[in-house]
Amino acid sequence: RPRHPGGRTMLLPLLLLLLPAAHGTVQLPYRPDLTEKPKLEGLRTASTFVLDQPRCVFKDYGNADIWLVVALDQAISNFSNTAGPGTPETAFQRFPDPVRAYMTLNATLANYPCPKPDGEITVLRVGSETSCAEDVSRPTCNGPLPGPGPYRVKFLALEGSVPVAETAWSVPIMLRTAKSPSSIPTVGSGHSAGMIAITTILSILFAVLLAGLVAMLCFWSSDSCSGSSTFSKPESVSVRRYNTHHVYDQPAARL
């Protein structure tokens, strides 16, 4: 019976092939990413970040609930797809300690219609719900992230409680860390060219004027001391000329 051994060996690989299918999770080639278009100022803040919606990714899973899994970078290998959302093991309020990955942003395929209409901004803001951040009765809260990360996310499709499809993990996402304002240097950062120019030029001008004044005073005191030829009795109100010879020749030119 040549077929029997062949059939047995064929059965084994078939069973092996069916095994993963029975545990269900299809690995979709999509990788969640931060939104690149349009450009957002608040793409990453200190406690939130913005992802593109997974449009046209879960096309075959119309009956599934699509969850977002947010995990610490070092905890992704520990995460099991069988962990149920809304349980204490995946509750946001217990993240990051002891829970290392939580599930949030429940949606269905209807929330992510395909194709994406042009001109619409289709994003998911992770961390936007502040009202339920402390509310343990809402374990699937999309609360603000407690630290700068790094975090990794993926989408997981569950039918009932059975995982059927998942995307790849995203690249590590680091959030912003705010510095203290006392780190801002406010001590005088140096002087502008204008101020240096003003100071230098005015100082030089002032020095020249002072020198001129000193020269004048020396000139005057040497004049009065030595009684030079230019000295003569002052007249009260008259315009003096350097050369008095022509005073009477040009009377009309007097001021």
């Binding site: 200190a46 705010a178 203290s180 001129g212 004048m216 050369n243 040009q250």
Partner: protein, 256 residues
């Protein structure tokens, strides 16, 4: 000799003209500084804790220097016409004193202008804007001034909304980062004062928030003031320098 008479006349004419210009500039300087002192720009609450007192001092000095220049220019004109050595000597000495004061005023105004870097405003804004327990009334004024500034100029922060993200602040202590990445005043508001699209503003979608910083709006008026005092004063002093040199030369040639 006719030539030297003409030279004297020309020199006297020039000096009289120079003094007339100085007198007019003195009046202009006084008027300008009175305007600055009595009409400080609306941003004075912002500048109150910075070295605004320096600028005020420069403006006050400018007022008195302007008046002194006017008075001295009249004295100078009389001295030149009368060719009186005493008068001109007094004129020169007083002018030098005025020159020194105006020099101080110019340099102070120019230094003040330099000291108002964006960092100064940034630090102040982060530490005082929306302070939850305002220590005194001036913090309330400060917040109000900033809100008005941001509303009128459609700007946010000093360098941009990222100021609120890059640094912790008094605002951040009372407003969570997820709900208020930046103050609501940074959003584009409708007629009722509510954000046109709050989610768009929080995400930072262009068109729903103000993306540019307010530093240009602040530094504009401040720079105008500083330029007015510093550079106009500098121009006057250069002119005064020439007139004084001419007067010294004239003085040394006067017969006694």
């Amino acid at each position: 000799m006719a030539k030297s008479d003409d030279c004297v006349h020309i020199l006297q004419g020039l000096l009289v003209f120079g003094n007339v210009v100085i007198g007019m500039c003195g009046i202009a300087l006084t008027a300008e500084c009175i305007y600055f002192v009595s009409n400080p720009h609306d941003l004075s609450p912002l500048l109150k804790t910075t070295e605004d007192s320096d600028f005020n001092a420069a403006a006050w000095i400018g007022i008195f220097v302007g008046l002194a220049l006017f008075a001295l220019s009249i004295l100078g004109i009389i001295g030149v016409i009368k060719a009186s050595r005493t008068l001109l000597l007094v004129y020169i000495i007083l002018m030098l004193i005025t020159f020194a004061f105006e020099m101080a005023s110019c340099i102070t105004a120019a230094t003040h202008q330099d000291s108002l870097t964006p960092d100064v405003f940034l630090k102040q804004m982060l530490e005082r804007y929306q302070k939850s327990e305002p220590a005194n009334n001036s913090d309330n004024e400060f917040t109000k001034t900033w809100d008005e500034l941001m509303l009128q100029n459609h700007c946010c922060g000093v360098l941009g909304p990222s100021d609120w993200q890059e640094y912790t602040s008094a605002f951040r202590l009372t407003h969570s980062d997820a709900d208020y990445p930046w103050p609501r005043t940074c959003c584009v508001l409708d007629a009722q004062g509510l954000p046109v699209n709050l989610d768009g503003c929080k995400l930072g979608v262009s068109g729903y928030y103000n993306s540019n910083g307010c530093y240009d709006a602040i530094s504009g008026p401040v720079n105008t003031h500083a330029w007015g005092v510093a550079w106009f004063g500098f121009a006057i002093l250069c002119w005064t320098f020439c007139v004084l040199l001419g007067t010294m030369f004239y003085w040394s040639g006067i017969d006694y």
